[in-house]
């Protein structure tokens, strides 16, 4: 079952790539991520949750993915807990779901969810202490087996990693519309610029949305700017590079995934490279992350962020579903109506929890781009709860995603709507975030907070929202811990190394050689 649109944006149908997920063979295209290839192949269930083994699907289209964590590669290169949304597809990619037994569809451990009223957060597992002899032989092995997600490789890492240094006048973090414009302005002013982006395709939201910039299509504007930057000779464009930390005196840490998009690094090529970038100024154009809405069972496969639905349609031509309900509490979510209609997705309903959404948005649902589609049902002042077709865990395990039902709770009662996908876009109401903690940005999106670091020249926020931002950087005058420099200080983000094997390896070598 393939769910691929003919009008694919950034994927190349002429270059099919074979890959396996849980041993089954699928075909994706060059330019796909693992997540988009799975969606295009109709795979909705990709993992199990940590504790109750609830079925999990793909929620987002970027690095903010919380659900679709998979085990990548095999043997000595096996890497656990990799976000499927950030893996660039290559020919022969091998991925497996994790935390399930015996299989992803039929996971016996999902029995745990039946006992969820007992196994609450903070449950004391030594409650299983009787009879005493059972603890070591039965309970503890079982509990240990149930805990954790992926498995690390047992063999030594066969790849090499390296360290590199770079210097520039302006470091631009993020190659979306803001980052590209900032890099363009800096280059025109004669500065040496380094432009980093964690994605393998620069453009940020321009690749995921149908946007226009000064009358030009977003993608072609980005291509023109990138061509200008490359021609200037003063810009280093670094795709697949994540800037993870700000250190003293304008030093930035960045991880470049040099060969992670290849089956194995070629001879003499490192797998990853740790950059220490020294920049006079930095522009933090890291973009924003869409907020999900909290509602009942919103972790089930089939529920996806509205912006991610648009991304999979526009960039990858992958259809997240045939029939979809949209649940939003802000104007941004309504953008999905037009993109879904363009892609031929039937909108079962548009549910806006606000008392009075703008009339022009409501009118838009009646005039879909494709006339063959019926107008979507529409409800305001409504809430949503998702549920699987059956409450039994076994049934849920077998048919997790195919018929998520979105229930519309109105004053009159509950309506049930069968659909294969719920697309949700949220923004915090007054009760969710204290007013003293403003998180500006577009409605329904939060900006990532920059990594903390004592820096006399913190990165600048480039947009008009800047005065309202609280980047949570310590002021230069505030007292900080005085460390003894003789004990080689490890950069904080390096020693934390958030799950990346390479970063961990780097940090140990830094502390020993620095």
């Amino acid at each position: 079952m393939t769910r691929r649109l003919a009008i694919a944006g950034a994927v190349d149908p002429a270059r099919p790539l074979g890959f396996t997920f849980d041993g089954r063979h699928y075909t994706g295209m060059a330019g796909d991520t693992l997540a988009s290839a799975l969606i295009a192949n109709g795979v909705d269930l990709v993992g199990r949750s940590f504790k109750y083994h609830r079925p999990r699907g793909i929620l987002s289209a970027g690095g903010e993915e919380p659900n679709a964590l998979v085990e990548l590669r095999s043997g000595a290169r096996r890497e656990p807990n990799v976000k499927a949304t950030t893996i660039e597809l290559y020919d022969g990619l091998e991925a497996r779901s994790q935390n399930r037994w015996p299989s992803l569809r039929f996971d016996l451990m999902s029995l745990n969810s039946l006992f969820s009223p007992i196994f609450v957060a903070g449950f004391y597992y030594k409650t299983f202490m009787w009879p005493a002899a059972f603890w070591e032989r039965v309970y503890e092995p079982l509990i240990r087996r149930a805990a954790g997600l992926g498995r690390v490789a047992a063999e030594a890492d066969p790849d090499s990693y390296e360290r590199a240094y770079a210097f520039c006048d302006v470091l631009v973090i993020g190659a979306g519309p803001t980052g590209l414009a900032a890099a363009q302005a800096a280059v025109r002013a004669g500065a040496r610029v380094i432009l980093c982006d964690e994605d393998f395709r620069p453009g940020g939201r321009l690749t995921l949305e149908r946007l226009t910039i000064s009358g030009e299509a977003g993608e072609s504007w980005a291509a023109a700017v990138l061509a200008e930057l490359a021609a200037s000779g003063r810009v280093t464009i670094m795709p697949r590079t994540t800037v993870f930390g700000v250190y003293d005196h304008g030093t930035y840490g960045a991880l470049e995934r040099v060969a992670d998009h290849l089956p194995a690094p070629p001879a003499h090529m490192p797998r990853q490279r740790l950059w220490r970038i020294v920049a006079s100024r930095a522009v933090l154009a890291a973009g924003a992350v869409e907020r999900p809405i909290g509602f009942g069972a919103n972790d089930l496969p089939g529920i996806m962020l509205a912006g991610a639905v648009r991304g999979y349609i526009n960039r990858f031509g992958a259809l997240p579903g045939r029939r979809m309900a949209l649940f939003t509490n802000n104007d941004d979510g309504w953008k999905t109506v037009a993109d879904a209609a363009q892609a031929g997705i039937e909108l079962a309903a548009v549910i806006d929890s606000r008392p009075s959404p703008p009339a022009e948005l409501v009118a838009q649902r009646n005039a879909p781009a494709s006339a063959s589609l019926p107008a979507a049902k529409y409800a305001r002042r409504s809430a949503v709860s998702a549920c699987a077709p059956s409450r039994s865990a076994a049934r849920m395990a077998r048919r997790p995603a195919c018929r998520s039902i979105c229930s519309l709770c109105r004053a009159a009662g509950i309506r049930r709507l069968p659909c294969s996908r719920i697309s949700a876009s949220g923004r915090p109401g007054t009760g969710q975030l204290p007013p003293s903690c403003p998180r500006p940005g577009r409605a329904g999106w939060s900006r990532p907070v920059p990594p903390p670091g004592p820096s006399p020249s913190p990165p600048v926020w480039p947009t008009a929202c800047a005065p309202a931002l609280r980047p949570h950087l310590p002021a230069a005058s505030s007292p900080s811990i005085v460390r003894c420099p003789r004990q080689r200080r490890k950069p904080r983000a390096l020693s934390r190394s958030g799950g990346s094997r390479a970063a961990g390896a780097r940090s140990s070598s830094i502390s020993s050689t620095m």
Binding site: Y165, D248, H249, P456, P479, P485
Partner: protein, 87 residues
């Protein structure tokens, strides 16, 4: 952290080795209160929150000894001069 070496320009702190407090001075051994003065010279160190003068050795560069004035709160380096020259 970056330290502006008078010979090499601004270099990363990784190239330097830290010696310690540059504000203490070896007392006169013949002075009557020499014992007390030496105790202070060897053991007592101020731990200021603010500007501090300290010795750094440019091991990975010109190998000169520097006195660096650094704000211990923000790591802002305000001066770096050759050691051995009285301010």
């Amino acid at each position: 952290m970056r330290i502006p070496c008078p010979f090499c320009g601004e270099r990363d702190a990784q190239e330097f080795a830290y010696l310690g407090d540059a504000t203490v001075e070896r007392p006169d051994g013949d002075a009557p209160d020499a014992l007390r003065a030496f105790h202070a010279y060897v053991y007592l160190r101020a731990n200021p929150a603010g500007l501090h003068r300290e010795y750094w050795h440019h091991v990975g560069g010109c190998r000169s000894w520097l006195v660096v004035t650094r704000d211990t709160r923000s790591h802002a380096v305000t001066a770096a001069e050759l050691a051995g020259r009285k301010p």
